[in-house]
């Protein structure tokens, strides 16, 4: 059983997807338990995988018993075992939180929603697990198509905008994926193989070839589009902000992070560091692009009035963190980049879960603006508390995990002498302070409730206590939120373990 984990982790949610579709014809009540079961098995397998990687090292799994390079190989090492846990964990925790929202916003579409949800997760898990460059493309499309549908489902007044932004996403996403496919096609022409390990063996003898150069450039362009690296980020903010909160809290934490994983996988394990960092000289340029992405993303975030829009631009800035950290090309930067994949996924999950709760409780229809969050500290202290922890983590306050990945990124920047990148990171931290304290302030001062009674309250020197009626979200939404908040701290304290036991081993021999 356990030797088949690399296949089970993808097949379980795939089968769950079909079963949900079937059962939704009979009774919609079965959809949720099946989805939980599928994702639970995937999460369990991901833990099993990392345990066996710890015990036995790299796992090579031949799908259907066909030997590579003809057959498809799933190859689990420290790097993707780590990312698999992140993906399956986020999907598993999140599904409990979105149940209420999905049932209220999409009562007619529950079957399709859960089915798309698990298929999307299966796609991302497959992208992460596969050791075959073409198989990666197929799974990329599975994740992308289900992602478009999830966003297009929309909710309430936003459904028109959601459809429009999903269309935009389809265009950009398809172009990105096609670029990737084209690059892989070039590689296949030049080498005759699609297996990543095989490619890494063959490619060094072909480094001078223009075909390889073109393949690399096209591949990377496609991936940059898919990961929404500034200035190719245009599809992301609307797509995430206008989708149903139920879909956003799954897609936002995972999509860009998995794409960054793919970039790391392709650069290190297909083209090899000798090519990516030394043979072609784009390190410095990429770090500058990333620094610009960080600054631009932060500034765009600053100009938003809507909470979810602001969060989506923070994602754009965070993509810059990870891309920049990777292209620093040293151990510290790469460690920061990989660490941030997990940390940022949990932070984004936490923020989007909180945003989902706000949407559920105060504004089921339409966008939540920052000013709508007045006196949230007294109305929803638990949700707001979790939101504060996540915000502090994004700002980079220890001991929350966001501090530690930022630490490694800045350290890498200093060691590589890329001071502009460090300056961009610090700048983004400072902007994040403003972004989040603007929200905390609005939630603390209670702009919506206390305005009309401000005069009388002011004279007597104290405010009325009747504002402080606690009106929290249902436990099914709060528990996942608190679990992800706790993970922010756990990941922070676990930094040394993750870095020395997982990431150093994942990139050993590469730098």
């Amino acid at each position: 059983m356990s030797s088949h984990f690399p296949a089970i982790i993808i097949i379980a949610p795939l089968i769950a997807g079909f079963l949900i579709s079937l059962s939704s014809l009979a009774n919609r009540r079965f959809c949720f338990p099946i989805a939980v079961a599928g994702l639970g098995i995937a999460f369990y397998s991901s833990i099993g995988l990392i345990v066996s990687v710890f015990e036995k090292g790299v796992i090579q799994y031949r799908l259907g018993g066909w030997a590579p390079p003809m057959g498809i190989e799933y190859r689990i090492d420290y790097l993707n075992a780590f990312v698999l846990i992140m993906v399956s964990g986020v999907a598993f925790v999140n599904i409990f939180a979105v149940k209420k929202t999905a049932e209220r916003d999409l009562p007619e579409k529950l079957g399709p929603f859960y089915s798309l949800y698990v298929l999307f997760t299966a796609g991302l898990l497959g992208i992460t697990a596969t050791g075959d460059a073409f198989n990666l493309y197929v799974l990329l499309e599975i994740a992308a198509l289900t992602g478009y549908a999830l966003i297009g489902i929309g909710s309430g007044q936003n459904s028109g905008r959601a459809a429009h932004s999903a269309l935009n996403y389809i265009f950009m996403g398809t172009i990105g994926a096609s670029f990737y496919l084209l690059g892989i096609g070039y590689l296949y022409i030049a080498t005759g193989t699609l297996n990543m390990a095989d490619l890494a063996r063959v490619l060094p003898s072909l480094f001078g070839s223009n075909v390889i150069m073109a393949a690399f450039a096209i591949c990377m362009t496609g991936l940059f589009m898919k990961m929404a690296l500034f200035p190719m980020h245009g599809w992301l903010p609307n797509a995430y902000a206008y989708s149903s909160p139920a879909a956003a809290s799954l897609i936002a934490p995972l999509t860009t992070k998995v794409m960054i994983y793919v970039m790391i996988r392709i650069c290190l394990f297909v083209f090899t560091p000798a090519f990516s960092f030394e043979f072609i000289n784009i390190k410095g340029a990429m770090v500058i692009v990333a620094s610009v992405a960080i600054v631009a993303g932060s500034l765009f975030a600053l100009s938003q009035k809507s909470l979810t829009k602001m969060l989506t631009y923070i994602i754009v800035a965070e993509v810059g963190y990870m891309v920049g950290g990777f292209w620093l090309g040293n151990k510290e930067g790469m460690t920061g980049s990989i660490l941030h994949i997990a940390n940022d996924a949990v932070m984004t999950l936490c923020l989007f879960l909180a945003a989902g709760i706000f949407a559920y409780k105060i504004k089921p229809r339409g966008e939540i603006l920052i000013k709508d969050l007045g006196s949230m500290f007294s109305r929803m202290p638990v949700t707001m508390g979790a939101f504060v922890v996540a915000g502090l983590s994004i700002i980079g306050v220890p001991p929350a995990c966001g501090f530690f990945s930022k630490w490694y990124l800045i350290l890498g920047g200093i060691k590589a002498g890329q001071y502009w990148f460090c300056a961009a990171l610090i700048f983004s931290s400072l902007v994040n302070v403003i972004l989040f304290f603007r929200i905390f302030e609005s939630a603390f001062f209670g702009s919506t409730c206390s305005n009309h009674e401000h005069g009388s309250a002011h004279e007597t020197g104290h405010h009325n206590d009747h504002e402080a009626v606690i009106d929290e979200a249902p436990a099914s939404m709060l528990v996942p939120l608190l679990v992800s908040t706790a993970m922010l701290i756990v990941l922070g304290f676990g930094t040394k373990f993750i870095v020395t036991q997982i990431i150093e081993k994942a990139i050993s021999g590469m730098i």
């Binding site: 306050v397 220890p398 001062f445 104290h462 405010h463």
Partner: protein, 504 residues
Amino acid sequence: MNEIYSIQPFLGVLISASAVLFIITAKRPNIREGWPFLFAIINFAVIASMLPAILAGNEITFTVARVLPGVAIAFRVDAMGLLFGLVSSSLWIVTSAYSIGYMRTLSEHAQTRYYCFFALSLSAAAGVAFAGNLFTMYLFYEMLSFATYPLVTHHQDDEAKKSGRKYLGYIVGTSVGLVLPAMIFIYAGTGTLDFAPGGILSWAGFKPLLICGLVLMFVFGFAKAGIMPFHSWLPAAMVAPTPVSALLHAVAVVKVGAFCIFRTLTHIFGVDLLGSTGLDFLGLHSINMGTVVAVIASFTILTASLIALSQDGLKRRLAFSTIGQLSYIILGAALLSPKGITGGLLHIGMHAFGKITLFFCAGAIFVTTGVKNISDMTGIGRRMPWTMGAFFVGSLSVIGLPPCGGFISKWFLLVGTLESGQLAFMAVLLSSSLLNAAYFLPIVYRAFFCTEEESKFEKKIDEAPSWCLGPLLFTALVSIALFIYPHIFLTLAQMAAKTITGGG
């Protein structure tokens, strides 16, 4: 010197933080306000229990978690940290009593929140005092920044909002913008952040210019110390309730800033490195980094004292006085001499008792009469003689006159300037004393000596509630007692100075 591995320092941090759970769940106000009092006493007892071991020349260490290679959340209590820990934890007891009187008399809203964040702030201050490395110190420094925000903005009106923005803008802006990169720079160069009495940078091989830059990043980055031009959050923070201004903005928060600068100068850079690293100033002659920091501190001392002269709001005048006095502590470190360092450390304790008395008096006056401005306080001594008597004692201590504790720390600072042969700073200290006298003594004089017509108060004794009056009389008495019995603080400061300067 022995190292003792003990959980005591961590308890000193945890006990105050755990008070929050009890305060939140308390059903009745009496119980809710009893908890901080009880926890403050337990907390003080735990911290004081470390005193014998430290006085015997040991250090107490405790590691909570190793979070990064070479960096842990770890505590190391030495004489210097214990001195600060004793000051803030003992004054928390007094302030807990004072808070009850102040907050109840004014029937302030959201008192539960107030007591919770007060306890968290004290926990963070203890964390800074006992931190064993720069990372732990930074962690608690940031925790303190965020824990005090709801206290500063307690009134939740527009002025509080504005002040809150200024407060966070300055404090978090500088710590993230300056301290964080400087800290990572040091880690990149040395691979460690642990404090060591001689500093850790001497073997990193940094260029002098980089060292100078780092020193300045720390001196300005720990903006809680109120070094100009990053001082203006402190007068703004005076919108907070007076107990907050008293304990946090005269003792815990601001001295955390000064303590952090003191700690990094002495235990990261080290006095030898600061003394030997210099800038060629305009090509004339080389000035070492100690002197550069001392000049920055002197500028703040004199400017803040001059601004204080012109302030009519009593709390604002006290705030500018605090800004000036904090730089005494920095100046003490920057003199790089044993006596100067002793004086700087002593000043953490001596100034705390004097200044908290003054703030308690300001609060007592506000609670009893509603008066905030000095110009409206003529003749107030007739109505509140005990309060104004205590105010006089506090003023003497801050000015640095006998028979108050402030005299002793100032004495050591003056000797320190002689010892390091930098007489210019002696002139700074003396003129600052004159300015202090000029902005404090007229308040006391006009409170007691005025004609019937001038007086704005009837000659009828009507003092503040005893929960307010008791604490301020107590701290005034302690200020005097510290002149006669400075031994504990003095011994700790001298021990710290001895280790820092390498036994000299």
